[in-house]
Symmetry: C2
């Protein structure tokens, strides 16, 4: 039995059957518990599972930009699920850079949609999904953010139109301004807003009130904000004054 093969089988067992004990895996694969334990150490180092006393459980999802993605996953998934429900089959969806849009992409599997994105993680997630018409925007590859930016991206966006834009953010200021920390992405985000019918901001509770040195847009550019906890009254007032609907996604479970 090849080590590689064992690793695959262990991961499959954990993903389909939930957490499993070292002794069970040992019997199932016909090797000693010591070997299983060493396998688990390796797989944990690779971030593919989490060891618990007596066994292990599978790690949630894959690990594209794991450092950022692993915080507040449940909240982001709840928000993403709410957003996914807003989309009708056959529509076109523009997905922003960032982890929030990636969580949304994961919920779109099996749907019949056109997805337009400059988010390379979204591309990888949906690349194998036959039902999705996938359009990738051109641009310079930014490795650290797994995204495409630059004038090529903006040019492409001027030639397109989408039913929905789902926008991420680094934070929302009390006045309802959507902010971002990375300046180079702002022109892309603005072009996305122009290219879309309805603009939906995905922002978990930690984004209110938020920081970020560059302003992406004001509340007047938004149609809907999806979040997971009551927004502070001042921000909420600004949003409602601008005619933005604030949707609360189902309570996030830790």
């Amino acid at each position: 039995m090849l080590a590689e093969r064992r690793h695959q089988l262990i991961l499959r067992a954990l993903r389909s059957g939930g957490p499993a004990a070292v002794t069970d895996l040992s019997e199932q694969l016909g090797v000693s518990p010591a070997t299983i334990r060493r396998d688990l150490v390796k797989l944990e180092e690779d971030g593919l599972l989490t060891r618990v006393h007596g066994g292990a459980r599978a790690e949630e999802g894959d690990q594209p930009f794991a450092e950022v993605a692993e915080v507040r996953v449940a909240e982001k998934d709840a928000i993403a699920a709410h957003a996914a429900a807003m989309i009708k089959d056959g529509q076109s969806v523009l997905l922003d850079i960032g982890t929030t849009a990636y969580r949304l992409a994961r919920q779109l599997h099996g749907r019949r949609l056109t997805v337009i994105t400059s988010n390379l993680v979204v591309y990888e997630e949906l690349a194998d999904d036959e039902g999705i018409e996938l359009v990738l925007l051109g641009g310079m590859v930014r490795r650290e953010y797994r995204s495409l930016v630059g004038f090529l991206t903006e040019d492409n966006l001027r030639q397109l139109h989408a039913d929905w834009l789902f926008l991420g953010t680094s934070g929302v200021r009390p006045g309802g301004q959507v902010m971002d920390t990375t300046v180079v992405e702002v022109p892309v985000k603005r072009a996305m807003i122009k290219a879309s019918d309805k603009v939906v901001l995905l922002a978990d509770a930690a984004k209110f009130p938020g920081t970020g040195m560059a302003k992406v847009c004001g509340p007047e550019d938004l149609d809907v904000v999806v979040t997971n906890a009551p927004v502070d009254p001042a921000t909420r007032a600004s949003l409602e004054e601008a005619g933005v609907a604030v949707a609360l996604a189902g309570k996030a479970q830790a």
Copy 2:
């Protein structure tokens, strides 16, 4: 048992049955473990599998792409190496769709270059290479060919200029016309030619004379043809008449 045949069988075994041990493959194919090991080394060099202790596993990803990629690997690599030597550090390189351009991309690791491409396999190959400034052209994702096409791609190309274009082909006709079988890619290839200073055609011996229903360009658009075996005299005459240099890549080793 021919080495070529063994390689095919090994790859098939790995792709259908997952990771396999050297000893298993050895018994299955009726040759010694030493031979299998040497086969695995070769196949790993070609990027078709990954060796692990005790055996090997298939390189994940592109199944249909891999089928094409595994034929005439040595020839394509020799051509790619010759092409890579033509590029100077700091230059910008436009890489076409197809497996030939992918082999070239593999030779560019560690260089300081700007690489522009609509080839998703090239993107994946170079995505982790810090020295390469990577620009991805926009467009519709064509899953079966791992490429980006459409008017977005052409638009992007109109905004760019590269020092080199390395073009693949389905075949070259005796008159020197470069042909292709997939009609949708032809406008993209033409836009690439317009966006480049020097156009280099990469074509192994099997492409002369070649087929393909759509004409991409004539010999007058080419600057250099890199191949691996003497081109038939008629084609060669047409090329030289148009001022195209024909370069012969170092002898291909089977």
